[in-house]
Amino acid sequence: MPNPSLRVLATFRHWGTALPVWSGRLRKEYWPLAAQNIRAQGGRLLALWGEDRRTTEAGYLVHAAFLSETGIVRTEMIVDPATAAYPSLAAIFPGALRMERALYDLLGIRATGVNDTRPWLRHAAWPADQFPLRTDFSGEGLDIAADRDYTFLPASSPDTHEIPVGPIHAGIIEPGHFRFQVLGEEILHLEERFGYTHKGVERLFQGLDVAAGGAHLAGRISGDSTVAYAWSYAQAVEQIISMQMPERAQWLRALCLERERLANHLGDLGAIGNDAGLAFALTQFQALKEDLLRENQHYFGHRYLMDRVLPGGVAFDLTAAAIAALQGGGQALKTAVGRLQEILAEHGGLRDRVVQLGVISPERAAHLGLMGVAGRASGQAWDLRVQFPHIPYDQLQVRMATATEGDVAARMAVRFLEISESLRLQEEILQKLPDGNIYHPLDLRDAAGEGVGWVEGWRGEIFFWLRMEQGNIRHCRPQDPSWTLWPALEEAVLRDIVADFPLINKSFNLSYSGHDL
């Protein structure tokens, strides 16, 4: 239940769901007030997005979702098409700034009260006076020109020089641009520029049928988090049609989620070691990850578990033999990771590179509203599996991994802890897996309404909001934790040297595709 001072601003409705969600419509004047109230109570901003409701209501609808101590508070506000403006939340939640800039690019409504009105997701693909999320978006005048007009922050002193990096980077990674201002080797300022992988996902979702097209696309918003996205999408759908999921399916979903966490953490630890010059770590962790991926292919049907989690259940089942084999694999992985962890902990060369590097203090982390691996490594004790456990996590007692140093070493330590916890969870899930169906066909005729999904992915929380009409998707908004975490990278690198940037960046390993949508 939202606190009393929030309740005087609007009537909040509790959504009948497994997740604790309260939803209310605010008047424009109350928009920042509600955010201030939530901030004062220690809440966080999860997402801010908008939709074109001019055909059904009086204008555009802006939504925000916050985390409060009792669950999600979702607020909405009508924006008059004549002014197309609404008050900014950036002074209250710094993370709101990029979301508001992106909202202008996509929907053409402007947050007032901030100076930064540069585009965020739009480069030159569509004209500046057209907005893809408006229902009357013509799709004409599309372009492939480079993004030449973006104004980066000017250099602070004539002694500094600028290093532009990207969008294409040296390795096999996603595209994005980083603009460094350096004095000698030292980084004085870093500015990120994204949007290169913008694929128009929000608009693509519109009109898709929920069971096939929507689920397929949801699993490809960020390929490394396909389970987390598919599950949060499924939660949103199941909430709209008030469906009870077969319990076995829920447990199998959690198994997939933990295996996704394992695969990514293994890959990251190897890559961090490699960026610190320890090729041994890369080879060893890659070998472990590959074994895990092959198990996935063999027992689940896809190396990265794409399309395994569907609205209504899961697309695979495990036989007793498969369960035994996975248990054996888990044991072997546990021993191998344990040995590697000892070696890495004792490796002086590695320690020299990762300790006290790329630090985000707990205070800054709290200010920026960090969560996920990077948040927990800076003392932010948020883990949905612990604070808001849904089935089966409510029966598994997840132990949260935290550290307070906030450096690269801490982000590695959190990953090691989470690997052993995920292995423990996998073992427990495999032992206690309830019998029953794995899939329950959906009855989507005339399904309508709003739903949310919220899942602790390996990187952080993935939030999904969905509106359905006549059984199809009307609008949806997937929110990657990277929206909140990317600004932290800009701070983490300050006063470190340029050559350490890849290492610091890897220790965050944030998503471009999930962010650019």
């Binding site: 480069h123 030159a124 693909a125 569509w126 893809p132 978006f137 799709g139 599309l142 372009d143 492939i144 020109a145 480079a146 993004d147 969008p167 294409i168 040296a170 390795g171 096999i172 990674i173 996603e174 595209p175 949007g195 290169y196 992988t197 913008h198 694929k199 128009g200 996902v201 608009r203 693509l204 397929h216 696309l217 490809r220 918003i221 960020s222 390929g223 490394d224 396909t226 890959g267 041994f280 080879t283 060893q284 890659q286 070998a287 990850k289 590959e290 991926l293 292919q297 190396r303 990265y304 794409m306 040995r339 590697l340 000892e342 070696i343 004792e346 998503s511 471009y512 595709s513 650019d516």
Partner: protein, 165 residues
């Protein structure tokens, strides 16, 4: 150090034998590509799934370098440009820059369903529906994502080899 060696020995030779191949007489690839390809990969708006498989391909199981292939940082050193993603409009200019920087002879491989035809993102205002809309494609490797074996087979073909029967 001793423990690192012990672990390395414990892992042993993880590499699997690359498929035996011979020169394909029908191949139009230059003979200098054989057993030696430098690859520049560009993510042109992929979901990152295809990149995961490219990473896996570089891992110890697949012996990529044994086959004579390696990923290079500079397009100026590259024989082959691999591209993933539906080609987001925002990536077209950078992709062209990269392609223009490559010396001849050069080849382009489309990696994954997205790069072949747009995949799940086909029809969006923000993408090109595949690389062929903007650069000439020599080989398509479909899949979502294509697994490392499929990627290796594709690279072998572009290098002018075919599997021995």
């Amino acid at each position: 150090m001793y423990r690192i060696l012990r672990e390395a020995l414990r892992l042993g030779k993880a590499g699997e034998k690359p498929p035996r191949t011979q020169r394909d007489p029908a191949s139009a690839s230059p003979s200098c590509f054989r057993h030696s390809l430098s690859i520049r990969h560009v993510d042109a708006g992929s979901c990152n799934g295809c990149e995961l498989e490219l990473h896996a391909l570089g891992g110890p199981h697949y012996g990529l370098e044994q086959a004579g292939f390696r990923f290079t940082a500079s397009p100026r050193h590259a024989d082959v440009l691999t591209v993933s993603g539906p080609v987001a409009r925002h990536m077209v200019a950078a992709l062209h820059d990269c392609h223009n920087a490559m010396p001849e002879p050069r080849r382009i491989i489309a990696i994954g369903d997205c790069a072949c035809s747009g995949g799940v993102f086909r029809g969006s205002y923000a993408v090109m529906d595949g690389i062929a809309e903007t650069l000439p494609v020599d080989l398509q490797i479909p899949g979502c994502p294509p697994d490392p074996d499929a990627l290796l087979q594709g690279l072998l073909r572009v290098s002018g080899d075919r599997a021995e029967t």
